[in-house]
Symmetry: C2
Subunit: 155 residues, 2 copies
Amino acid sequence: MSEPGKIPSDLSKDRLRVWLRMLKVTRMIEAELRERMRQSWDITLPRFDVMAALRRADAGMKMSDLSGVLRVSNGNVTGIVDRLEADGLAERRSVEGDRRAMRVLLTAQGREMFDEMAAVHELWVDELFSPIGAQGLSTVHTRLGRITEKLEAED
Amino acid sequence: MSEPGKIPSDLSKDRLRVWLRMLKVTRMIEAELRERMRQSWDITLPRFDVMAALRRADAGMKMSDLSGVLRVSNGNVTGIVDRLEADGLAERRSVEGDRRAMRVLLTAQGREMFDEMAAVHELWVDELFSPIGAQGLSTVHTRLGRITEKLEAED
DNA sequence: TTGATTTGTTTCAAGTATGAAATTTTCATA
DNA sequence: TATGAAAATTTCATACTTGAAACAAATCAA
């Protein structure tokens, strides 16, 4: 980046390049993880993401909380939870005091399966990110953090 | 990252944290770009991506080249090109010498529309990445590059 | 040459994703 | 206490996505 002969004020092109590379890396890693999950447990990434969110919430989460945390649409979550429920990994319970809302939580089976998957998932990510050491991780983490701050501040 | 009291050998958790953050940032930016594109030109991100790939190839690209470059499945590209073609933005031509293959290229209208969109798109990305300066861009770019190298070497 | 494999594309079923509309329930307030 | 706005979820139409299967055409080997 910013080679010798280049006008430094042209950050715009560099930002575009970084964005395209980030998009590429993210897609490659997602593809790799998706494939491994499919092979290992016949599960999809969206289902795993929902289970990960639910695992942290002992009391369960409302549908709208789920779509908020995962940043996907409400209707989307409805379908994924439907399928998790059909597989016996999650369940919907009513929220006392509000008959509109639903509380979703993992079943015992769902928790057990997620814990098993999460451990392996962490190993995979460690492997895929192995070219980046502690130094690089720190830099990338803080730089990306600035972007989320900015985006979250805009709401 | 790697705070004072922390055992440095536990890079695994840091890598997971960085991956999760990267996923989050990528999704936020994609959501933002998708929304703006929808509002401005009633176009989707996948269509824009295909047009971007085609714009660089004056002679057009084969369907399989497209899916290779964009890292999406063959069947996926079929649908997106179908819709671009229906909108008069791209067209399929036969490849002389190989009756199986198809050459896809932008129409004049497609090129014109893409150039207009690309200019604005670059401004948006510049804005969204504005919290990262030249220094940070460079670091992030090279770190992410190592990951793609590793992943591409594995094929 | 012919048969087998490979290549390029499309089709298909299932799942993921969006944004908008529809439903039901809650809540504020006049 | 009506009643209108806001909130929580589902439903819907449309589009994207995958992996597998189907198909046709090209290539390669016996």
